[in-house]
Amino acid sequence: MATMTKKDIGGFLARQGILVAFALFIIGFTIANPKFLTPDNILSVVRSSAILGVMALGVTFVVISGNLDLSVGSMMSFSTIVVLDLHDTLGPTMAIPAMFAMTLALGALIGFLVGYLKLNSLIVTLGMLSAIHGLTLTYSGGKNMDIDDKSGTWLSVFGQGQIAGIPVPILIFLALAALLGIVLAKTPFGRKVYAVGGNGVAATFSGIRRARTVFLCYLMSAACVATAGLIQASRSMGSQNTVGQGMELEVLAAVILGGASLLGGSGTIFKTVIGVLILGFIQNGLLLMGLQFYAQFVVTWVIIILAVWLDIAAKRGRLWSPIA
């Protein structure tokens, strides 16, 4: 292909727009502030993105299966509060499995409602957002949760530990990303997830148990949320009831940025990781440039819409929508 037509370039930009924009951001930020691309800064960005990232991995499964999960934020608050509370009564060895069991039970409930009862996932998880928030408040009695003996417990490993100079949250995030990436791309279950999200009717006719696949996706999401809650609890050793509030939006933003279609059937774990990193680096870059913390919300808004717009513009072959 010797000559590239204007249309090819446009198509390339639209398809890989996220990566191009990301590269431009990185170059811009690096010129504006030399500190941006130092190992220290990179590590700190990835570390602070790890909790969001772990949650985004699970939500990727849910989104590819054609559903939504808006309850991950309040579910994360729940996990964090529960593990902190149980830590002082049961000790860390028992508290962590107990917390995982409780979070998975919530995930199973959502999976049952959306998968087996076929209820609209947007409304179910919106309802669960509120219900789990209420559950957390009831559980904690509205009080902040703190660990009594903060220095004498190995719970701190997950959030504050380091192995070979790399913070443990990053290792958990990357290990989980690799594992779930393989599950999604290389296993029959992963293919079923794509099939169910791509065309649920066709998947059902070809013998895939749609309900079970969706159920398992929500279970997966809950497991990721529990892991995120564990990292959060371990990092701060104490928490408010609302620690995860609003995170469902950022998680969804990262997944959409990565290019997963909300209609289901497309997206990959790798792309979600990219989406998480883009969000993290852009927020960090804006802070380094001296912008107000809250400006990042506005920038994230613009980026989400641009990303999705470019994505569908590439698919339909024209920039503006055909809506009259």
């Binding site: 409602l113 009862l117 076929k118 209820l119 609209n120 947007l122 409304i123 179910v124 919106l126 309802g127 669960m128 957002l129 509120s130 219900a131 789990i132 928030h133 209420g134 559950l135 957390t136 408040l137 009831t138 509205g142 649920g200 009717v201 609003g246 939006l249 950022e250 969804l252 933003a253 959409i256 909300l262 107000q292 913390f293 809250y294 400006a295 990042q296 919300f297 506005v298 994230t300 808004w301 613009v302 989400i304 819409i305 999705v308 717009w309 569908i312 513009a313 339909r316 503006w320 929508s321 055909p322 809506i323 009259a324």
Partner: protein, 333 residues
């Protein structure tokens, strides 16, 4: 009896039946559990309930038409907060100092204009880019909230204008100002949806967009108008509420989209668009406020309210699906 008559009767009457059940339950339970001696069905209490329904109710009317149109708006809570800040802040701007109390209509106008503009921006993006309204308004929920925080940091914005407070606290024919606004908005939106071309087209677009396009209906402008209306109503809800309270926190209005959508879904509006009624939404709003107030009456705290609301939303979704099984939805899968 034609098939489906029973289910449609059940559906239409369900919300009012639910309200009656709530009234009976909380009145009885209140006898044993209430913290105060006053009866739940006390007239003053019911009038207060109407007034307290206004902030959610006014926005819910806008959400009804947006959802009938086949879209959704998650940014209403943020628009609510931004309009409130513009209202309270602009009351003190030096350029308006010479106006005296005439600053009130100016500030109201500006807050409402901001609401319309933000709604129009949402609508324009949905129309021109073709990005799903869910994503557009999800982004806007974040972006508009960012603007709220950038305006005044984490500080509350406060200003009490006593003329305004008197107006907001006034009662006319026994009903509070906020209640009148809620009733007026409900009536206006009812007329809009049942008696105008725009309303009929909105139903048509939500029911079957392709058919609507083929029938020559211009989908884009109708969607944009509906987003402008909900933006306006979110701002109206804010100016009515904050005229009285006089102080807004940057977090105010958070989770309003949840309450509003719950009220609309309770009222039987379909998420996929094409069906829904303004009057039933009014019932949904009352049902939710009754629940909040009733649970408070029998001594439950906000955490229980959150829990119950979430579960009821899911239960309603389930019941609605069960009642619809015999209908045409079966074909859609």
């Amino acid at each position: 009896m034609k098939p489906g008559t029973l289910s449609s009767f059940l559906k239409r009457g369900a919300i009012w039946g639910f309200i009656v059940l709530e009234l009976i339950f909380f009145s009885l339970a209140g006898e044993f559990l209430a913290l105060s001696d006053k009866a739940f069905m006390d007239l003053d209490n019911m009038l207060l309930l109407l007034k307290q329904s206004a902030p959610i109710g006014i926005i819910a009317m806008g959400m009804t038409i947006v959802m009938i149109n086949g879209n959704i708006d998650l940014s209403v809570g943020a628009i609510f907060a931004l309009a409130a800040i513009i209202l309270l802040d602009s009351l003190t701007w030096p350029i308006f100092a010479g106006l005296g109390d005439w600053v009130i209509p100016v500030s109201w106008g500006m807050a409402l204009l901001v609401g319309v503009a933000l709604g129009a921006l949402n609508g324009l993006i949905v129309w021109k880019t073709g990005v799903d309204a869910f994503i557009v308004t999800l982004g806007a929920m974040l972006g508009y909230r960012g603007l709220v925080f950038m305006y005044n940091g984490e500080q509350p914005t406060s200003h009490l204008n006593w003329t305004l407070v008197d107006f907001a606290e006034a009662q006319f024919l026994g009903l509070h100002t906020a209640t009148w606004f809620l009733l007026a908005v409900t009536a206006a939106i009812w007329v809009l949806m049942t008696r105008t071309v725009h309303g009929r087209n909105a139903y048509a677009i939500g029911n079957n967009r392709e058919a609507a396009v083929n029938a020559g209906i211009r989908v884009g402008p109708h969607m944009m108008i509906n987003f402008m209306i909900i933006g306006f109503l979110a701002a109206l809800s804010a100016v009515v509420f904050y005229s009285e309270s006089g102080s807004v926190n940057p977090n105010d209005g958070q989770l309003y989209e949840l309450w509003v959508i719950t009220a609309v879904v309770l009222g039987g509006t379909r998420l996929t668009g094409g069906a829904g009624s303004v009057i039933s939404t009014f019932g949904g709003v009352l049902a939710i406020q009754l629940l909040r107030k009733g649970l408070g009456h029998i001594g439950a705290d906000t955490s229980t309210v959150n829990l119950v609301i979430g579960l009821i939303l899911i239960a309603v979704l389930f019941l609605d699906r069960q009642l619809n099984v015999k209908g045409k939805e079966e074909l859609k899968i």
